[in-house]
């Protein structure tokens, strides 16, 4: 096979412009395919990071907008297998002006002491952490929030309440970074809870509770234990892994899986067309050469192999270009708004890289097979007589 390598290479570069155009065209399509596969992999196939695998979330079974009674928190804390549980309360609210969607970022009310135990990915200097814990009106913000809104440690900010009829006047004590994304503000839920002017419908209920379990193996039993103890209560709960909880939000936006798969299908088909077209053109213009090769004693199998290899070489080069482009795009996506921690950390994993290359090669084989087969079967005399 090795002795044909130079022949394959020479054939591939005999029409440099065509090869270059094909590689570019395949590169762009494969970059898209790679990107969609990377997102699919990150959302549905990748392993849950070890810290996240220990976390669960509980909400009202009917819907996240309905609350759970306040005493559920203590009940959940006492459930065997649960190490910590804390409120994870969506405050929403308005920063500056509600009409500009750029002013939006997530604001969660939590238990500051437990936050760093449960969300162990959150990184910030120890003194900022302590300052936040010590101040009831303190908050910490993610790096992305800090950069986007020009907010720094020591600044104050006001979040006008919309769901809750109260405003938050918060002191920023820290700027954190986290592998789970850094576009959230965390504040003490006690700030809301201890507001005596609010009716109990706001202060003595939780809409979601974040839970840390002892071991990853205990997850299914803890989930069952929590939901079972409220099964006959008037408010039933739904407990799931934090990842399933987050994916649920993403899936609610629309049928993400179907969208990713249909884009993949459209792109794959396009690549198939581009590649088949190129190989058909390439083979068509050298029918006479094939005749000469045959005269020199090349077997049909060898000719088939040479053409297939050429197609695979071009597709592989396209995959390399596609990988490069996809890596750049992933970097851009990481800078954008994080819909989930998986998207915030998006990169082309080795698995996806291999999948990209293999699909490129498979498409190359499939698309080149007909022209290659025709070339290998053409009778010598016909081939030599052929004029294009």
């Amino acid at each position: 096979m090795g002795r044909y390598a130079s022949l394959v290479w020479k054939n591939a570069i005999r029409n440099r412009r065509r090869t270059l155009l094909t590689i570019t065209s395949l590169g762009f399509s494969l970059c898209l395919l790679g990107l969609m596969m990377a997102i699919y992999y990150a959302l549905y196939l990748s392993d849950t990071p070890p810290a996240q695998a220990l976390r669960l979330a509980t909400r009202n079974k009917v819907s996240i907008t309905l609350p759970m009674p306040g005493y559920y928190l203590q009940r959940i804390e006492k459930t065997p297998g649960v190490r910590e549980a804390m409120p994870w309360q969506w405050f929403q609210g308005v920063y500056k002006d509600e009409r500009d969607p750029n002013n939006f970022f997530a604001r969660f009310g939590v238990d500051a002491k437990k936050l760093f135990l449960i969300q162990s990915e959150i990184r910030l200097p120890e003194e900022q952490k302590q300052a936040f814990i010590a101040d009831r009106r303190g908050c910490i913000i993610g790096k992305k929030v800090s950069e986007k809104h020009g907010l720094r440690v020591g600044d104050r900010l006001t979040i006008k309440g919309d769901i809750y009829p109260m405003d938050l006047e918060l002191n920023i004590h820290g700027v954190y970074d986290s592998t789970m994304g850094s576009d959230t503000l965390f504040f003490h839920w006690d700030y809301v809870k201890e507001n005596r002017s609010l009716p109990k419908e706001y202060t003595d209920v939780y809409s979601s509770i974040s839970i840390l379990v002892e071991t990853p193996e205990s997850v299914p039993t803890v989930i069952a234990a929590i939901d079972d103890q409220f099964r006959s209560s008037s408010v039933q709960t739904r407990t799931e892994t934090e990842r399933a909880f987050a994916l649920g939000f993403l899936n609610m936006m629309g049928n993400i899986k179907a969208i990713l798969l249909s884009v993949c299908a459209a792109v794959t088909f396009t690549i198939l067309l581009v590649s088949a077209n190129t190989m058909a053109m390439s083979v068509r213009e050298r029918v006479r050469e094939v005749g000469i090769l045959k005269t020199l004693g090349f077997k049909p199998g060898a000719i088939l192999g040479i053409v297939l290899c050429e197609s695979m070489l071009i597709a592989a080069l396209g995959a390399v270009v596609g990988y490069g482009l996809a890596t750049v795009l992933c970097g851009m996506i990481r800078q954008g708004p994080a819909f989930s921690s998986e998207i915030a950390n998006l990169s082309i994993q080795p698995f996806v890289m291999v999948a990209m290359l293999l699909s490129a090669l498979a498409i190359a084989l499939l698309s080149a097979f007909v022209p290659a087969w025709t070339a290998s079967r053409v009778p010598i005399l016909d081939a030599l007589r052929h004029s294009d």
Binding site: I64, L66, A258, T270, L273, N277
Partner: protein, 387 residues
């Protein structure tokens, strides 16, 4: 003098394999773009058709959606007394105090569950929404845990069917009717008696919004002005139409994603078209020489090849339209700003098809320009001598 168009069309027909593959590549790119546009158009259609221009929606100041807004009963009494509100058949002001709840049920697209809006409303609220017809079953009775569901809910949520019970906060609620709300967002909602629903979720005082009908278009502006400037009320008033218009940004994420995919695919198919056209120029070098000998100018050659590329792309655009036409009318649902599913039909409208053709032609022009220039630059003798 120009080279006749039939020359190009016959050339495309001779190389039908290549033509078809290139056109299909362009067609797929166009199809991705058109699918995105059809989705956004369908979604915007629902939101733009929802909302009577005479209706004014009142929410708490700072609220961007009914879901996060809170209004109280005393507030309702004050709003109801404002001047310029139309009267109902029974002579009361046409004003409905409403509340929004959610229930999460598995949908045909999302077995893990999607949110559905449940709207609790007063009899006036039903009277104001005169475009809603009962499709089957009956209306809910005040004081009973009963639901009337929109026809999209009935079609998309297997658990939501007449006779079935749906568990809300405490009790099982029976589905008693299905309503047809023309092409409005109410098709994706469930309606229930306000007081019953408020009691169910223990929110008897904190309700969501107030809908009022003005007597005439002039009174709409005056009412909005009056409510907004009343600092004691602390409310945000807008026309119902304006509110739903603002919800149509729910499709923005899909629009960005679709356009991004289409843009990248466009680069790929423009390069593929370029490849095809370069091959066409190379194959027909002798013909180009002959045409020049016959007296056709360089400009005529350039135009001819460009036209051929455009014709190829046009065919691609048509293929793209053919690919997305079956989507027209297909129902899907997405969850946007309102945090609950809104069902809509894909809409492949003539303006959208036209955009698809234009997009294809742009790809054809980009892909054809350099090869056509290459053809035009050929020297007569060299071209005739080429193999």
């Amino acid at each position: 003098m120009a080279i006749p168009l039939t020359y190009n069309l016959r050339n495309l027909a001779v190389r039908k394999g290549t033509t078809l593959m290139t056109a299909l590549g362009i067609g797929l790119t166009v199809a991705v773009m058109l699918t995105t546009m059809a989705l956004v158009a369908g979604l915007q259609g629902v939101f733009s058709e929802t909302g009577n221009p005479l209706h004014v929606l009142v929410m708490r100041k700072g609220s961007t959606s009914e879901l996060v807004s809170t209004v109280t009963r005393p507030l309702f009494q004050e709003v109801k007394m404002k001047a310029g509100i139309a009267k109902s058949k029974s002579g009361d002001p046409l004003a409905s105090l409403e509340m929004i709840e959610m229930v999460n049920l598995p949908s045909v697209d999302n077995p893990d569950g999607s949110n559905i809006t449940i709207r609790g409303l007063l009899p006036a609220g039903l009277e104001m929404r005169d475009y809603i017809r009962l499709q089957s079953g009956r209306w809910f009775q005040p004081g009973k845990p009963e639901l009337v569901i929109g026809k999209s809910v009935a079609a998309r949520f297997p658990d939501a069917q007449i006779g079935r019970k749906i568990r809300l906060a405490r009790n099982d609620w029976e589905v008693v009717g299905v309503m047809d709300a023309a092409n409005t967002a109410a098709n994706s909602e469930m309606f229930a008696d306000l007081n019953q629903l408020a009691a169910e979720s223990n929110r008897t005082e904190a309700l969501s919004s107030i809908l009022i009908r003005a007597v005439d278009p002039v009174a709409v502006a005056a009412l909005v002005q009056n409510l907004e400037s009343d600092r004691k009320l602390n409310v945000f008033a807008q026309t119902e139409a304006a509110y739903y218009e603002s919800q149509s940004s729910s499709g923005a994420l899909f629009e960005y994603l679709g356009m991004f995919v289409a843009a990248i695919m466009a680069v790929g198919s423009a390069f593929a078209a370029m490849n095809t056209m370069y091959a066409a120029v190379a194959r027909r070098a002798k013909e180009i020489g002959t045409l020049r000998v016959l007296g056709f100018s360089r400009t005529a050659i350039l135009t001819s090849f460009l036209v051929e590329s455009l014709a190829l792309a046009f065919a691609g655009g048509l293929l793209g339209i053919l690919l997305v036409l079956p989507l027209n009318g297909v129902t899907t649902g997405i969850t946007g700003n309102t945090f609950s599913e809104v069902a809509f039909h894909f809409r492949v409208t003539p303006p959208i098809m036209l955009k698809g053709i234009l997009f294809a032609l742009v790809l054809g022009a980009v892909g054809g320009l350099f090869p056509a220039g290459n053809a035009a630059r050929k020297e007569i003798l060299a071209a005739l001598r080429e193999a």
